[in-house]
Structure formats: C-alpha cells, structure tokens
C-alpha cells in the first residue's frame, strides 16, 4: 500500500450536552492510502458521517490524532486548517448543498474564491470542471433549474475544481434514482482512476460499495474488522 494521505490514530469523538454524552467514534485507527477509493458502510447513526467529517478536517476529534499527508493536525486552529481544506480536500454531500442564489458556474467556483486565483482563471477552471461532468451547457443556470442528478454533478464539479487530493463523499447517491446514481458513481470512478483522486465515500448501498476498492464497516462508532 502506498503512503497514506490521511490516517486516524485512536480517534474518539464524543458529543457532549448538559444532560448526556454520545460517543460517535471510539478508538478508530485507519489509513487511507493515496489513490484509494474507499467506501464506509454501517447502519444509520453508527458514526459514518462523523468519521467522514473528521477525515475531512471539518470536525475535530475529542481524542486521538488525525495525520494528513504525513502532518499531524493536532492543535491546528481554523486559520491553519482552512487552507488545507481548500487545497487538499473536496466534499460531495447527499443533499448537494448548492447555493440556490448563485448560478451553477458561481457555485463551482466557490473553493477557488479562497485561494489566490484571478476571476478569469476561476471562470475557466469552473467551466472545465463542468465540462468534465457533462454540464457545460448549464453554466448559467441556477441550481433549482436542474434535476437532482445534475445538481449532484455540479457538486462533484465543485469538489474537483480545486484539484484536491482527497474527495469525501457523504452518501452522494442517497437522494438520486438508480440511473442518476450510476452516473455519479461513474464520475467518481473516473476521477479516481484517471486523475488519481483519493475518494472516501459513505454509502448504505452495498452495490455502490462493491464498486470501490475497499469497504470500511462501522458499528456503534467502532471499526469492524
């Protein structure tokens, strides 16, 4: 296995309120190798999304260590994590999370807004990404004018426009019919095989998981080996 792009070492995640504690992740240790396409499976509420968020540096573990590209993320603040998220990570969500008030091309440009990039270059790269997902004719549409599958393709274009090394997809086909799901899976497979993007995908669907290279199973916040 090649060098891990991200690794978790004995990670715990506990959500605390005044009344109770909920353990979402417990002693999770795993490595995601560069170039892998990994599926995370498990029943609802087992901690899949939490695991994905911790891997994507948008949630902090309560204990343990996240190592990204060989560098420990322990103790890093928002100002240090933000550029890592911007340059190295892309996210695709089940409910797309497109900004409805922005045109498709503006949505795709979003990650490029937070790095040194001219408006012209942003626009070119966004159009290029939309071309890859087959939506180059929809750049000036608003998200609400697109089907669910097209919206998710826009979300994939947004995730890949910054050329991240790691793409995290949280049930990317969960809201789509089988035909559109298949389109999205094909897109992700293409990203992985042609561009070498490492992909970690949460899914409930065994058939989708079977199309990945490795399946990580989670139950009650723990990995099942």
């Amino acid at each position: 296995m090649s060098e891990p792009i991200v690794a978790l070492v004995d990670v715990q995640k506990v959500y605390r309120t005044d009344r109770m504690e909920t353990v979402a992740l417990q002693s999770v240790t795993l490595r995601i190798a560069s170039g892998e396409f990994v599926a995370i499976m498990g029943p609802s509420g087992c901690g899949k999304s939490t695991l994905l968020n911790v891997l994507g540096l948008i949630d902090q573990p309560s204990d343990g260590e996240v190592v990204f590209a060989g560098r420990s993320m322990r103790g890093l603040g928002d100002a240090e994590l933000a550029p890592i998220r911007n340059r190295e990570l892309g996210f695709v969500f089940q409910s797309f999370h497109l900004i409805p008030d922005l045109r498709v091309v503006d949505n795709v440009e979003l990650p490029l807004l937070y790095r040194r990039c001219s408006a012209h270059e942003r626009r070119e790269r966004a159009r290029e990404a939309l071309g890859i997902v087959g939506l180059d004719s929809r750049v000036d549409h608003f998200p609400t004018e697109l089907s669910g599958g097209q919206q998710q393709r826009v979300a994939v274009a947004r995730a890949m426009v910054g050329k991240p090394r790691l793409l995290l997809a949280d049930e990317p086909t969960g809201n789509l019919d089988s035909h559109m799901s298949d389109e999205i899976m094909t897109l992700l497979e293409g990203l992985n095989s042609q561009q070498g993007t490492t992909i970690v995908m949460v899914t409930h669907d065994q058939a989708k998981a079977d199309r990945t290279q490795r399946i990580i199973r989670l139950f009650d916040g723990q990995l099942i080996h």
Partner: protein, 420 residues
C-alpha cells in the same frame, strides 16, 4: 470574490422581503439623521459663499476682564478700546476687521412691523469677506471714517422693502436711524456666522463709547497665508498677556481672550460647558469635540444596530448550510466574518442611497423653516461623511452576527441540515 459576495448579499436581502424592509427602514432613518446633522455642522464650519476664505480667518469674539485681587470677572464681547489698543495693533494679520454681531432691529413699513438683523462693520470687513454684490457697492473706508448713514442690504430686504423699485438711493429707516441704501448683496445664511445679516451699516454710526473695554464687537484676523495662523494666535496671546490695568468700568488687571479658527470656536462652544472648561481660555478642544461627536453618533447608531444584529442572528439557521459549505471549501473564520460584514454593509449602502435621497428633502425643509436664508446642501464632504456613516453603521450592526455565524463549526452546520 466581492462579486460573489454581492450576489449572495442581494439574494439574501430578497429572500425575506419584510425583514429586509425593517432593516432598511432603520438604516435609512439613522443614516438620514446623521447625514443631515453632518450637513448642518459642515455648513457652520465651512460656510462657503461670502465666507469662502474661512480657512484664512481667525475670530476673536470673547473677552474676560478679571480683578485678580477680588477674583471678580466680567466677560463679554470686544469693546472698542480693547480693539484699538490690543488688536488693531497686531502685525501678523494681513487684515483686521472689527464688527458687531447681527442685532435685531425693528422698523415699520405700511403699518407692517419688519424685523431685520443689522450688523455694523468697518471697511475691512468687505475686503475679508467676499460678498456677491447684486447692485451698487459695499461700504467704503470713507463711509466708515466719516460715519455716513449709508447701508448695504441683502436681496431679501430689498425685495421686502422696495418690491417695485430699485433699492439703491432709497431711504431705509431702521429703529430711529435712517440710512441711504448704497448696495444690495446676495443673502448669506444664518449658518455663516460672520457674513449673516439683513442690513450692514458703518460701525461708526453706532452710538458707542470709544473707551469701553467690553462691548458687542467681534474681530476677524485675516491671513493671506493660513500657515501663519499659529503666529497670529501667539501674537494675540502676547498682546492679551500685556493687558494693563484699567479702572473703567471697574478695576480690572488681567484679560483673557483667544483667537479661534471656525472649527476651534465651534468645538469649544459645543463641549466646553460639559467639560467645565473655561471657554475664554480654551485653546484646542477639537479632539474632545470629535471624540464627543463620535460617542454621540455611535450611541445614536447603537439602538438600530442592535435591532439589525438581532434580526441577522435570527437568520443564522437559515444560512447554516452555506456557512458549513464555505468552511468545508476552505473559508476561514476571518474570511467569513469579512463576507458577512460586507453583506451588512451592502444592506446599509442601500439604506445610505435612500438616505442620500431623503436628506436633501429634510435639508430643504430646514432651509425653509429653521435657518434664515438656509443653504444646507449635500456637498461632497457631506456625501463623503455619509459614505463613512454607511460603512461604520454596516460594520457595527454586522460585526456581532458575522462573528457568531463565522464561528459555527462546519460539521455542525452541515449536520443540522441532513441529520446524517
């Protein structure tokens, strides 16, 4: 990036129209009041018109005589004796003018009672101030020296007294005095403290005691080079410090007086009473005045700002997914704070535009009802101040909601949506 922020800002405003209306209403009202207040201030310290050389003028308008033995003071305006002895002899100013404040003078015309503001001046007054002469001439050195009973009147007085005939050469009866009109000048507004009057007559026509130390006069010191202001101030202080004891109207052995710029005088009049400062001796209270003005302006902005902040915080849940998404895409907290403040400034900018449309109407009403010959207007400095108010109000009302929104955890924002 700003284009993206602007699109979002406008979209957010259009999402909840009533909420936007409430916010906009508060912002517009607040900014209109601030713009109008600044316009009044600006027209007082930078009146333009006949006083367009304001920056070259120092004003001496207060004098306090003191009996140091009995700690007894008498403060008033400048008397002729003090002027002749301690001011007319100053060497730094290029021109020195002695004139009275405008006093109310009553006369009757066709059974109608007319009240005019009458100012008595010397000839230098007309050299320092640059009146727009409509007809005839202004007062000459001979008029003043010989005490001629001649008068210059403004257009409003000419129109009211001599509506159907030329004013030049006509007799003008004011109180018990009768003057021949020799000139008509443009109206100068009440906010132009030095130029404002309806009727101007030679100062030598006034029944006065030449030996009076205190009186109703004020003095303009004019310097061709404004860079010599401090030199003139220092020379005047030296002259005042050399005050020699007098026995009329009582025994006084010390004098206190200052030469002010327009802004210094305005600042002193506004804040000295509250600071228990001696207004006769105060030199520079501009800093205190600016600080007080900022505090008052901020307090005035505080209530609508809190209201706007409250409404904005109520929309956090609505925007949580976008916040989570932007953070996941690499926006730092500080970048998001900047974005949300920018959005609020955009809202306030719309309020500012409405305020810029409303303010001239309010200023017009003030010109017609409050200020005689009012000339309050939306000058470039007023627009600039208005722009500053927009930014400050936008930042104040947007800072806390922006900080609160930007500090949300991205995962929490996203989890709040899909509950995965």
């Amino acid at each position: 990036m700003l284009g993206n922020y602007l699109k979002i800002a406008i979209a957010v405003l259009l999402r909840r129209k009533f909420l936007t209306f409430v916010n906009l209403f508060g912002a517009t009202l607040t900014l209109t009041v601030l713009v109008v207040a600044y316009a009044v201030f600006d027209s007082t310290v930078r009146p333009g018109g006949a006083q367009h050389r304001q920056d070259n003028i120092l004003l001496v308008n207060r004098l306090r005589l003191t009996n140091t033995q009995f700690d007894r003071n008498w403060g008033a305006f400048i008397g002729p004796a003090f002027y002749e002895r301690y001011i007319a002899t100053l060497e730094t100013p290029d021109r020195i003018s002695y004139m009275t404040l405008p006093n109310s003078a009553t006369s009757y015309l066709d059974g109608r009672k007319l009240t005019s503001m009458l100012r008595r001046t010397d000839a230098e007054y007309w050299e320092i101030l640059d009146f727009d002469v409509i007809e005839g001439r202004v007062l000459s050195a001979d008029d003043v020296e010989l005490g001629r009973m001649v008068a210059v009147i403004n257009v409003a007085t000419a129109d009211s007294r001599f509506p159907d005939e030329p004013a030049i050469g006509r007799k003008l009866v004011v109180g018990r005095e009768s003057f021949e009109v020799v000139g008509v000048v443009a109206n100068e507004p009440e906010t132009s403290r030095l130029a404002f009057a309806d009727i101007w007559v030679p100062i030598t026509t006034a029944p006065r005691r030449a030996d009076a130390w205190l009186g109703e006069g004020q003095v303009m010191l004019y310097l061709e080079d404004p860079g010599r202001m401090q030199l003139a101030k220092d020379e005047y202080q030296t002259a005042v410090a050399a005050f020699e004891p007098v026995s009329e109207p009582a025994v006084f052995d010390a004098a206190t007086s200052r030469a002010w710029t327009a802004l210094e005088l305005y600042a002193a009049q506004m804040v000295a009473p509250y600071l228990e400062e001696d207004i006769f001796a105060s030199t520079d209270l501009i800093g205190e005045f600016i600080a007080a003005a900022i505090v008052v302006a901020l307090l005035f902005m505080a209530l609508p700002a809190v209201n706007m902040a409250n409404l904005s915080i109520g929309r956090i849940l609505e925007r949580a997914p976008e916040i989570g998404l932007r953070k996941a895409a690499g926006a730092s907290t500080s970048v998001l704070i900047g974005q949300f403040i920018f959005e609020n400034v955009v809202l306030c900018a719309f309020g500012g535009l409405l305020a810029f449309a409303l303010a001239p109407i309010v200023l017009g009403i003030l010109n017609d009802t409050v200020y005689t010959y009012g000339r309050l207007s939306m000058s470039i400095p007023v627009f600039a101040a208005g722009f500053a108010f927009v930014v400050i109000f936008g930042v104040i009302s947007g800072a806390y909601p922006a900080w609160k929104m930007a500090r949300l955890q991205p995962a929490a924002c996203l989890r709040g949506l899909n509950h995965a």
